[in-house]
Symmetry: C2
């Protein structure tokens, strides 16, 4: 049976000790990381969240009973050790912050024993993620995950501190709200008191934060849990966290200003990285034209070139057909990749097809100036050289072209550009390139539903100069919306909101809401708009993704303490689970499927 900690008190965390403590008697508590017996010596590494300290049990200087006890310690036992800090007599361990000291123990207590864990507690674990998630409480002991969780906590603390100083109030909005079919799928919560009725979990605090502006709170923020019942892609979680904010009496520039200073503070204080302000801005149109993406990774070039004019008279049917159908021909230049083997190029063509391309035309300029191309035979020689010139093609370059409707061309080349950057190892995780993307289209055409849907959400303010097109050419109307992009990831986005009832009604009309439906779903917001609403705007960050990038991780699961897997289940707790029949009866529900 393990011992209690009655009568002893921890004086330091392990990693807090240094040479400055030499000669002091200290008490540390933590987990046994390693136990080595060497001659009459027993070395124990004790670990806590701050680091590792070595304890040395040596015949002569340590009581022999203690040495015996120490020799029996196994990995992950929890111990309390009291002893004197000494400069190491042996070699300094450069891998440890405490590598030049050790503790000579006078007392050892075993607070808790451990079975052999299913995988070793170590950095860069090679254990399958599934196993680690099942034993998440052990996985979370690994120093890399601990570093991530500590960083996440730091980001939250600094954010709150900064926003409080800027006059933002932290106000909690409800989790049990009404369901609004617009947007992603809601998680529902059955009501017991009102059987047959349901709450929904919020996809964001959007409506409530706008109401708070309507109520005069001026500046609101919240680090808010949000929920979406979507089929999970690699990097989505059913519940995720937003840094959510809203400001009154502001326009685009005010929101951007406060957020640039927030980002600069976070990256400076957490990572020591200087973010040069102002962060560059780019309109959505320019981002699509130059990078084929509304969230361009600007750590590298390889920009898109529109060569429609150059090839408009050529006989290559693919180019010709695309142009005749109102599309364009655009290309990217993968510098120095002209020697890429045919097989690898074919893989790029397959990759392009995954994004909707019918094919991918290429010109591989060889080092000797000769050219291998999939479509040279359809082109005159001067057309080819004109095209290579337009692309800035030099000996050794690989030129890749897509020809289709703009949307497809952008998507294909935008993704191809990223794929090539990965292959060419152009992406450095320790480089942080921010970009504001602005002037997004207000609406996008939804082929499936055959109607316009809001690109941001139905409360986004149209740009005043485009309002005249809202009835005749809705797709042309730009919005006062902005995204903040980091290394090709959208880490946040927001907009100036509509604050006049008539504009909001017009927006619902364009989105195909009947006045009744709008009233039914957003009645309380429309009603609020009757009583004096300030101009307001806001922004929300995806905290999980932001911290993931700061921690240089590839998955948000590595910055969430208890994440769910792709099928939205929790491998540790096994949630969701069956419940007792009585619980369903109380809710007036029955399950219509076989389990």
């Amino acid at each position: 049976m393990a011992e209690s900690m009655q009568g002893i008190k921890r004086t330091h965390r392990c990693g807090e000790l240094s040479g400055a403590n030499a000669g002091q008697t200290v008490t540390v508590m933590g987990w046994v990381q390693k136990n080595r017996n060497k001659g009459g010596l027993v070395f124990i590494d004790v670990r806590d969240r701050s680091g590792i300290i070595q304890i040395v049990f040596e015949e002569g200087s340590t009581d022999s009973g203690l040495i015996e006890k120490a020799a029996k310690l196994r990995a992950e036992f929890v111990v309390a050790v009291t002893g004197e800090v000494k400069k190491r007599s042996g070699a300094v361990n450069e891998n440890l912050s405490t590598g030049d000291i050790e503790i000579i123990p006078s007392q050892l207590r075993i607070l808790s024993e451990s079975e052999t864990p299913p995988f070793p507690i170590e950095e860069n674990s090679k254990t399958k993620e599934e196993v680690r998630l099942k034993y998440r409480y052990l996985d979370l002991r690994r120093p890399d995950l601990q570093k991530n969780m500590i960083m996440r906590s730091q980001v939250a603390t600094l954010t709150r501190q900064f926003l409080a100083e800027e006059g933002f109030l932290e106000i909690e909005t409800p989790i049990l709200i009404g369901s609004t079919p617009e947007g992603a799928r809601d998680y529902l919560v059955p009501s017991r008191i009102h059987q047959g009725h349901f709450y929904a979990l919020p996809q964001s605090p959007q409506l409530f934060k706008q109401l708070l502006m309507c109520s005069g709170y001026d500046r609101y923020f919240q680090i808010a849990k949000c929920f979406r019942d979507e089929d999970l892609r690699a990097d989505r979680q059913p519940e995720f966290t937003q840094i959510d904010m809203e400001l009154s009496f502001v326009d685009v520039d005010d929101v951007i200003d406060v957020n640039e200073r927030l980002l600069a503070k976070l990256f400076k204080d957490v990572l020591g990285v200087e973010v040069v302000l102002p962060i560059p801005r780019m309109t959505w149109q320019e981002a699509m034209d130059r990078y084929g993406s509304d969230k361009p990774d600007t750590r590298f070039g390889m920009e898109l070139t529109d060569v429609t004019d150059v090839v408009k008279d050529c006989e290559f049917a693919v180019f010709k057909g695309a142009i005749e159908n109102g599309g364009t021909v655009r290309g990217i230049n993968a510098k120095g990749q002209g020697g890429m083997p045919r097989k690898k190029i074919d893989k790029l063509v397959d990759f392009a097809r995954d994004f909707g391309a019918k094919g991918l035309a290429y010109i591989a300029v060889q080092e000797d100036g000769s050219v291998k191309s999939s479509f040279a035979k359809f082109m005159k020689e001067e057309e080819m050289s004109g095209l290579i010139e337009a692309m800035g093609g030099e000996n050794g370059d690989l030129l890749l072209f897509a020809a289709d409707k703009n949307k497809v061309v952008w998507d294909v080349l935008g993704n191809l550009r990223l794929e090539l950057a990965r292959q060419m190892e152009l992406l450095d995780k320790s480089e942080y390139k921010f970009l504001w993307v602005t002037e997004f289209p207000l609406l996008e055409w939804n082929e499936e539903q055959e109607r316009y849907t809001a690109m941001h959400h139905p409360f986004t303010m149209p740009m005043e100069e485009d309002l005249e097109y809202i009835d005749t050419d809705p797709g042309r109307v730009r919005a006062k919306a902005y995204d903040i992009v980091l290394n090709g990831n959208e880490i946040g986005g927001g907009s100036v909101r509509i604050y006049h009832q008539d504009v909001q009604n017009k927006m619902f009309e364009v989105l195909g809401f009947t006045p009744e439906k709008a009233q039914e779903q957003f009645g309380f917001l429309l009603n609020a708009f009757k009583y004096g609403v300030p101009p307001h705007a806001g922004l929300a960050y995806g905290l999980d993704r932001m911290v993931m990038l700061m921690a240089k991780e590839d998955s948000i699961r590595d910055v969430i303490a208890f994440p769910k897997v792709k099928d939205a289940s929790d491998l540790m707790t096994e949630a969701p689970t069956a419940v007792e029949e009585k619980q369903l009866e109380e809710l007036g529900l029955s399950v219509t499927v076989q389990e």
Copy 2:
């Protein structure tokens, strides 16, 4: 149509202006609070969250077009005013922080118009709460609610800052978890991917924070949303907020120490109130004996006196019977209430019956020393005088007695004591009396389920010296549990946790869990206990209630931005609502009740 804010910028919030700004040109934005025309003068009071400023439109100094525009302003219009700050020429308004200044406007824009609101935006509203909750976005404009929300934000900010400085990490735990039938009723969330299975919303992050200790995070905190699907009493909400914390390698005193300093900081920084440390401590037994309550209001005395020994030989059947049944006779002395009219005393008797008393015996000592009593006829004279003496009864006092099992006696007199204090106006909301109540019973007998249930929760550590009784006399075992009580309200509570698997298994056994059931429900925690668990302890505050007391409010609805009412519905959004059939189909559910 209202105007835009293009080209203008707010320079100050209204309440931020003072005599120091005299002579400056400023721009304020806010809501029209009042509009008075007086001769050629128009006075507009503009309100924002910081306060109110008066704008004076005067013929001669203001453009006549502006005066006309101003005269048309109505309550709750949103305006932007640019003008010069001047010392008031007229009388200073002592009710306003800006009462000695006014703005002479050069520009006025109407940013948004308002219909006449359904109730006036003013302090101490007399409008029915139901109406105010339906129009919560307007109710939230009232200065008293704004003051509360700002205070709540301040409490959260200071708490986070303090705990971060004390080495606590803020770690988010999941909202979609597994259902655990122990405790209150869970809110369920049907899974779409795993049809027929359900998540639950957490009643607290208890299990997860213990796992985080197991994972070595050492000090965790979170301001966490918690959920309970209970029939709502006056002061309960389906979702509520906890300041939740857990610490490793600590015992009771360590938790109390850090929390006393937290409370002292909050009350000092938010209210300017000095909390004298250390906060007094009282065992549960003493609290029950002296106050008949495990959350005594120590702002006043009127303590319980055990007179069992004094009356044990008397012939009054009620006293005699209670003592013979193993009960006690106890009384309280309502000083100076001896002249209470019989009708009012009868009401106290009814009040006592509501708490399970069969009756209430009284002795009203008159100012002349004579005695009116409900049971004098059953007592000898010396017995009466002995009883009065034991109660410290003096001329003019009202002595009230309950005789029953201890549990009933405590409950009756504890509540009677509070009721009398209300009647006697002994309760001062600006006085803050803190108290730690410690050494709670580990278990309490649940008559309905005919088993012991955990008084705190199943993870609470028994006191080592009582462990020997756990099999033979479980009710006698005290726990390392503590509550922090403020003015008779439990604002927080916690315990040292069990961290050894064998003690935890024993606890489950006493609670009537089969090993299989324990494994099914808490398997992941029991498994975690196999791999080295540190001694740990924690505490959670009810943030809503704490802020309610700080704001001197009577309802937590007044410190929650968007609260629900007693039937758990939201009067503003009308949640919960019916949902589309398609949504239920996707979940594999059907509603079995008629709506």
